[in-house]
């Protein structure tokens, strides 16, 4: 077992336990810290709890009726499960990109500024500016700049996913959670998305869940390996893949199971 403590982490997870309705425990007490402005990958076999874990960081699990959470998650020094935490503020700080790309059935432009609109923003100039920067950051600008008012549903799968990334960036989050963002994409689109991630690492803290170890190796600085709701190993990506400390980690990354 490793419990990596990093100086000045942006997210600090302390003994996090998570129960699905019916008291099925999905996380058995995770202790983990995430460094700021770096990419951390969460890997592990299906059902190991990695998605559950990152959905705890923006309290997406609150949508599930009857789930229960113990322990604490500290974002920039404040516990996000505190009574006083504002869930909306939290989600604006912690953006998320989902496994299945989910652009709204609106125009590309409207998709990007959705987060601003719901925050009550009405400044047209700000919208234009933010659309451009976000799409550029998501490396989509060149492809869509001429058809911003067209429906987002007309984009290709990879473009849609990058639009979702742009949508997440548009509200200037601190952290971007990515839940297997490339699982539904073809290799070429995956490469584009990975490129995007690499470009974003300088400005944002990115936590990415993936079951693709190559992807983790390619894009992340740190990697955590989860297995059956436990954190097995955590370390710099280079180290973890080259010299895993734990037998289970080694078995997993060498492909003996998973």
């Amino acid at each position: 077992m490793t419990t990596s403590r990093i100086e000045n982490p942006i997210i600090q997870v302390n003994d996090l336990k998570f129960y699905y309705p019916g008291n099925a425990r999905a996380l058995h007490g995770i202790d983990l810290s995430f460094p700021e402005k770096q990419v951390t990958a969460l890997i592990g076999p299906s059902g190991c709890g990695k998605s559950t874990l990152i959905r705890c960081f923006n309290r997406m699990n609150d949508l599930i009726d009857g789930c229960r959470i113990e322990g604490e998650v500290i974002l920039e020094g404040e516990s996000i499960y505190d009574q006083n935490t504002d869930i909306i503020e939290l989600r604006r700080k912690v953006g998320m990109v989902f496994q299945k790309s989910n652009p709204f059935p609106k125009s590309i432009y409207e998709n990007v500024i959705y987060g601003l609109r719901i925050a009550g923003e009405k400044d047209k100039k700000l919208f234009d500016e933010r659309v451009e920067t976000s799409l550029k950051a998501a490396a989509l600008w060149d492809e869509v700049k001429d058809r911003l008012q067209e429906s987002a549903l007309g984009l290709s799968g990879g473009q849609m996913q990058r639009l979702c990334i742009a949508r997440a960036i548009a509200v200037n989050p601190k952290v971007i959670l990515m839940d297997e963002p490339c699982s539904a994409l073809d290799p070429k689109s995956t490469a584009r998305v990975e490129e995007t991630i690499k470009e974003l690492r300088d400005d944002y803290t990115i936590i990415i869940v993936t079951h693709n170890m190559q992807q983790a190796a390619r894009v992340s600085d740190h990697t955590a390996f989860l297995f059956e709701g436990n954190l097995i190993e955590y370390g710099l990506t280079d180290q973890l893949f080259v010299k895993p400390q734990n037998q289970q980690t080694e078995d997993y990354i060498t492909g003996r199971f998973g």
Binding site: D86, I88, E89, R92, A119, G120
Partner: protein, 741 residues
């Protein structure tokens, strides 16, 4: 993010959540309340009657020691009166017993001494004086609204003499009954001391020259009874005379012919020869109430029998008393019976045979009277204690038996299930049996389903499994649009277009029922044979329903041409006549055939759509697996797909059934709306739903009919609710199984 805005959207969110939750729940709750509400309206049908002591006091001013003969009161339980043996009428205030004014009855000859008083109708009194003369006096109460005094209501009373009969030469009789009817026909019947009966009639007859002439006649009545006459009663029109004997016989005379009164029958009513102690006629003068010395209370009326003619028959046995019955009387507004024995006064309803209320104060009752509306009663005990009672008898004619069982109604030759809620007269006995209506509903539904289910299910099988997707994309929406055709249109066409058409060409219709299947079988067999020929083998499948349509059209056309000839040949030209003479069934132009077509047409789309959904949602893998094993396409459907989809098909059929049960306009227009219980396909019926539509506009609010109609609505609701719930549960299971909405 702007904190003020954040606050605002969060507040909006909370408010919205509240509104939606409250609104949503309110909508759902209020919609579910429907059942409770209509049940609430129909529930009072089953409330048990209740009696309450209203006022009680010692009879005022009784110092003469004269015996009280009768008493009575107004509708509002405000003014009462007693009549004593001296012919003195004393009015008093019912609430406190304080005396009002008095009135003295005097006979024609000036006598002030009475032998007996009989009461009938609306406070009519037959006074039998000790000199043998008789007068009929009516006490009248009329409400008076004082305009000068804030429209305060008070009750004013008056007394009016209706008729006077002179004393007979033979002196005083043992018993007397007398009536005067609306045409001033006066009838007086005397039971003489020697036991013989004598009738005196006075009638106004128009003479040949148009002048009115008074005719009088007196006869001795024929009497073949073994026993002694103990009691007698004359109908209010003075036509029917009944008498009971101490040997349990009832005699019936008809006095309509002034010259020859006729003894119509002597019936041994009770085989144990018990004494008949009281007779009276139920409101409407059809049923005879008989009380006997063993406390038994029964009602009788003449029923026509092919051997013996009209014969008094025991119809209803009501709750009796433990002691001999002293008197019986009708209630003045419905078919209830008041009976009086030393144990107390009871009210029962004749039709429903329900015991309604009993009044049984600790002291023995000597006299009683009922208000004209039947909602109040006054009793006088032997000790002179006068009490008034409020009666609450909401729906005396309704009981489980009258609603669902066979009941022997007045004028019927046997017990029957009947629905006939009202007639022109007040004294009508309402017939509120729901059985013929439920029967009608089920009959119509049955024939409609017989037509719709095979067509809908097979059509759905074809559409989902065999038709080309291109057709499916057209057929499915087309059938769904069919579902939207208003039923009033279907009903109208069925009644005004289809019914005359079928009536005209009944033979053709039956012929096409034979010809269509035959033509189908032949053409299919031919096609099967033809497909062996090489070029036809390549004809694509999935067009069958288009190819077969001309066959059906041709078959119907042939039937239409051949039908009349066939009718000529076999049924002497007229199938309807033949049905009537040979089979004994009457052909009703608006009948079950029409209903089967029309209502069937209305439910086909529902069954079709749901079945088709169920069939289409069976995973294609199942079908592929079966076909891969070498099963034919029909075998695959029959053995693999149909079983998987059967819950959905069942659900569709159920929902279609529910729709047919509740369908109103089609049955209202395309059936005769006659409430008969006859399985024949050539007859109409009256279902629950149409009955509501027909009767509710005429039903007085909160009356028995109104509440009974609400009860039928409850029955309809419950029937469809059960059927739909079962279907819905089955459907949800199926949905969970195949995971599609």
């Amino acid at each position: 993010m702007n904190p003020a805005f954040l606050k605002k959207i969060k507040r909006n969110d909370r408010i919205a959540a509240w509104i939606i939750t409250i609104g949503g729940m309110a909508v759902i709750v209020s919609v579910v309340l429907i059942l409770l509400l209509i049940t609430k309206v129909s529930l009072p049908l089953f409330y048990s009657p209740d009696s309450q002591l209203y006022t009680s006091f010692q009879l005022p001013g009784d110092k003469t020691g004269k015996q009280v003969f009768t008493l009575g009161m107004d509708e509002y339980l405000e003014t009462g009166y007693i009549v004593d043996s001296g012919g003195l009428v004393r009015f008093f205030n019912v609430t406190d017993g304080s005396g009002l004014d008095n009135y003295q009855f005097i006979s024609e000859s000036g006598s002030q001494s009475l032998v007996s008083i009989q009461r009938y109708g609306r406070l009519n009194h037959v006074l039998h004086w000790n000199d043998g003369s008789v007068t009929i006096e009516q006490v009248k109460f009329s409400p008076f609204f004082d305009e000068n005094n804030n429209n305060l209501r008070s009750i004013q009373h008056s007394i009016e003499r209706q008729a006077a009969f002179a004393a007979p030469a033979t002196g005083r009789s043992e018993q007397v009954v007398a009536r005067i009817n609306e045409e001033d026909r006066q009838v007086r019947v005397d039971l003489l001391q020697n036991g013989t009966l004598r009738v005196s009639l006075t009638e106004e007859v128009e003479s040949l020259f148009g002048a009115a002439e008074l005719v009088e006649a007196t006869h001795q009545l024929e009497n073949t009874a073994v026993g002694q006459i103990t009691t007698m009663i004359l109908s209010n029109d003075g036509i029917q005379l009944y008498a009971g004997t101490n040997q349990g016989e009832i005699l019936r005379w008809n006095l309509s012919d002034i010259e020859t009164p006729l003894l119509e029958e002597v019936t041994q009513a009770f085989s144990d020869h018990r004494e008949i102690t009281a007779l009276n006629l139920v409101f409407g003068d059809v049923s005879l109430i008989v009380g006997d010395n063993q406390g038994g209370l029964t009602t009788w009326f003449p029923v026509r029998n092919s051997d013996t003619g009209w014969k008094l028959t025991l119809i209803h046995e009501l709750t009796g008393h433990a002691e001999p019955i002293r008197s019986v009387s009708p209630t003045p507004h419905d078919k209830s019976v008041v009976s009086f024995a030393s144990g107390g006064v009871q009210i029962s309803h004749m039709t429903s045979e329900r015991f309604l209320v009993g009044i049984d104060p600790p002291e023995k009752i000597s006299h009683y009277a009922l208000t004209t509306r039947g909602d109040g009663m006054m009793t006088l005990t032997e000790q002179g204690q006068l009490s008034s009672w409020k009666l609450d008898i909401p729906h005396p004619e309704i009981s489980f038996k009258t609603l669902f069982g066979k009941v022997w109604y007045e004028g019927y030759s046997e017990p029957a299930w009947a629905w006939q809620s009202s007639a022109g007269t007040d004294d009508y006995e309402p017939k509120l049996s729901l059985s013929p209506l439920i029967f009608g509903t089920l009959k119509g539904t049955f024939y409609a389903m017989l037509f719709a289910v095979p067509l809908a299910i097979f059509g759905a099988i074809y559409t989902s499994q065999f038709a080309r997707p291109k057709f499916k994309g057209v057929v499915k929406p087309a059938v769904e649009v069919m579902a939207a055709i208003p039923t009033v249109i279907i009903g109208f066409l069925a009644a005004l277009w289809l019914a005359p058409l079928i009536e005209r060409s009944l033979g053709s219709m039956f012929l096409s029922l034979i010809l269509i299947p035959a033509a189908l079988m032949i053409s299919i067999a031919l096609w099967q044979a033809a497909r062996k020929i090489e070029p036809l083998k390549r004809v694509e499948r999935g067009f069958e329903f288009l190819a077969i349509a001309p066959v059906i059209i041709i078959a119907v056309a042939i039937a239409a041409v051949l039908g009349p000839g066939l009718e000529n040949w076999f049924f002497a030209g007229d199938l309807k006549q033949w049905l009537f003479t040979e089979m004994g069934t009457r052909y009703d132009p608006r009948n079950c055939i029409i209903i089967a077509f029309a209502m069937g047409f209305a439910v086909i789309p529902i069954i079709f759509t749901i079945s088709e959904d169920a069939l289409s949602n069976v995973p294609p893998s199942l079908k592929a697996a079966s076909l891969a094993l070498g099963a034919s396409r029909w075998q695959t459907v029959w053995r693999v797909i149909l079983p998987s989809a059967s819950p959905g098909i069942f659900a569709g059929t159920m929902i279609g059934f529910g729709r047919a049960v509740g369908e109103t306009m089609i049955v209202l227009m395309a059936t005769g709306n006659t409430a008969i219980m006859d399985l024949s396909i050539f007859n109409g019926m009256r279902p629950l739903s149409a009955n509501i539509a027909v009767e509710i506009p005429e039903a007085p609010v909160d009356g028995s009919l109104y509440r009974t109609l609400f009860l039928t609505a409850v029955i309809l609701f419950v029937m469809t609710f059960i059927v739909n719930t079962v279907a819905e549960i089955v459907r949800q299971r199926l949905r969970a199984k195949y995971g599609r909405f």
